[in-house]
């Protein structure tokens, strides 16, 4: 472990250090890499400001002892992430404060016992077990919410882009464009928090790393050259049709399945003429239709929950590709 840690020469500038850290973390969760780079830069910049008079190379040489060389830092973050994932995302396990506290108390991990292997459950148990998965309801709620957020994101991007591009003819278009690009980054973080809370997909908690040593012109240039800026906008544009589709799917299937399940109640309890009309013909005139209707409704409800969870997973994967691609 220690021999190959120092195989590479120590970096002499902060961007080099961060680049080595990024390389050492290659293949890890992109959201975790973003957090690790952010933490490291905060520490390095603070240390540099604290030790005025020393060169960047001297400060980094000192930091390798206290904060850790890039390879050591990478190893620490990998280990911590494994521990947290184990505590937070074990299959079928609820996120309890105790589990989170256990993860917080055991950053190095090896003392935590591995989670007991999930017992093989039957197909039926797995089908109905979807009601116990908190991510199901998170995804369902996300589908309903996405109509509002999707409309907002779409409007924001279309308005911001057309306003700033058309005003570029005048000089005031430039600050408006920059403000708009900055706002897209903030919104991307916000959407990341929503997705992580509701869909359980790890998203960055810190803004993307930017090289602070360059001038502001170079940094603005980097923002335009950064594919993530454009992919984020693409994601926001996609959110309108997706949000409408998600909302429609969720409300249609939920109301259909609930109506099928509770129609007999309306017929029995409230003396309200309930029926199942297809093309104006009531097909539910016979009494035996009602148990079938309840069963079909229940199956449809569980199917809807499965569909919601699946859409949540797909959407989480898509958001990860478009919002945190490195």
């Amino acid at each position: 472990m220690n021999a190959d840690n120092h195989a590479r020469p120590l970096p002499t500038t902060i961007p080099e250090y961060l680049e080595q850290l990024r390389a050492a973390l290659a293949g890890a969760d992109p959201a975790m890499i973003q957090d690790a780079l952010y933490d490291a830069e905060e520490y390095l910049r603070s240390e540099l400001a604290e030790q005025a008079g020393k060169t960047e190379a001297e400060v980094i040489a000192g930091v390798a002892g206290s904060y850790g060389a890039p390879e050591e830092v990478a190893e620490i973050y990998r280990e911590t992430e494994v521990t947290v994932n184990r505590a937070l995302r074990a299959p079928g396990m609820r996120i309890t404060p105790a589990a989170v506290a256990a993860a917080a108390a055991a950053p190095a991990g090896p003392t935590l016992p591995p989670p007991a292997a999930a017992p093989q459950r039957s197909l039926v148990a797995r089908f109905f077990g979807v009601v116990l998965d908190p991510h199901t309801y998170g995804a369902l709620f996300y589908m309903l919410l996405s109509l509002a957020t999707g409309t907002f994101f779409f409007t924001w991007v279309v308005t911001g882009l057309s306003l700033s591009v058309s005003l570029l003819i005048l000089i005031i278009g430039i600050p408006i464009l920059l403000l708009f690009l900055g706002s897209v980054r903030v919104l991307s973080l916000v959407e990341g928090r929503i997705i992580e809370t509701m869909l359980g997909v790890r998203m960055p908690r810190r803004p993307a790393y930017t090289d602070k040593s360059q001038g502001w012109l170079a940094r603005i240039g980097a923002m335009f050259a950064d594919g993530r800026t454009w992919l984020t906008m693409l994601y926001f544009l996609l959110m309108l049709p997706l949000g409408v589709a998600y909302f429609t799917i969720a409300t249609t299937l939920l109301s259909l399945s609930l109506a099928l399940m509770f129609a007999p109640l309306g017929d029995l309890l409230f003396d309200h003429p309930a029926g199942i009309w297809i093309d104006g013909v009531n097909v539910a005139t016979a009494f035996w239709v009602w148990p079938v209707s309840v069963a079909v409704g229940a199956l449809l409800l569980f199917g809807t929950l499965h569909l919601a969870r699946g859409i949540g997973k797909l959407h989480g994967a898509m958001a990860k590709h478009l919002l945190v691609r490195l």
């Binding site: 472990m1 957090d35 952010y38 933490d39 490291a40 830069e41 905060e42 520490y43 390095l44 910049r45 603070s46 240390e47 540099l48 400001a49 206290s66 904060y67 850790g68 050591e72 830092v73 620490i76 973050y77 911590t80 992430e81 947290v84 404060p97 989170v100 506290a101 993860a103 917080a104 108390a105 055991a106 950053p107 190095a108 991990g109 090896p110 003392t111 908690r205 803004p207 930017t210 602070k212």
Partner: protein, 120 residues
């Protein structure tokens, strides 16, 4: 030789896994104002010996986990020297947890001391 070293490192890592959270909570409980990661690391470095003098990059994920567990609160402030800093403050849940953890630590330390007595 290197075998002994590796075992010592493994022991230190296991020892630090619980104590680092305790130390972080304690530092924040004593602080009169919110602190950001670098200041907390330096505070530990000033007093830290043994396992607490480990690599300071390990502190950041622990801070984030403690916040996730609801024991700390944080806010972001811009800084002149680098990226915006995340300032951490202990909340009431954190203080309650800290009291319990201190009791557990005291009990552990006392019994360890008793067990280790007389070995030189």
């Amino acid at each position: 030789m290197s075998d002994l070293d590796a075992q010592l490192r493994k022991f230190q890592k296991e020892l630090s896994s619980g104590t680092v959270s305790l130390a972080l909570l304690a530092v924040l409980a004593k602080a009169s104002e919110p602190l950001y990661g670098y200041l907390i690391a330096k505070e530990l470095e000033r007093v830290g010996e043994g396992v607490l003098s480990g690599k300071q990059s390990a502190l950041y994920p622990v801070l984030r986990n403690l916040e996730g567990a609801g024991l700390l609160e944080s806010h972001v402030e811009p800084s002149v020297s680098g990226p915006p800093r995340r300032y951490y403050r202990i909340n009431d849940d954190g203080r309650a947890a800290l009291r319990q953890w201190i009791a557990a630590w005291d009990a552990t330390r006392n019994s360890l001391q008793y067990v280790l007595e007389g070995i030189h």
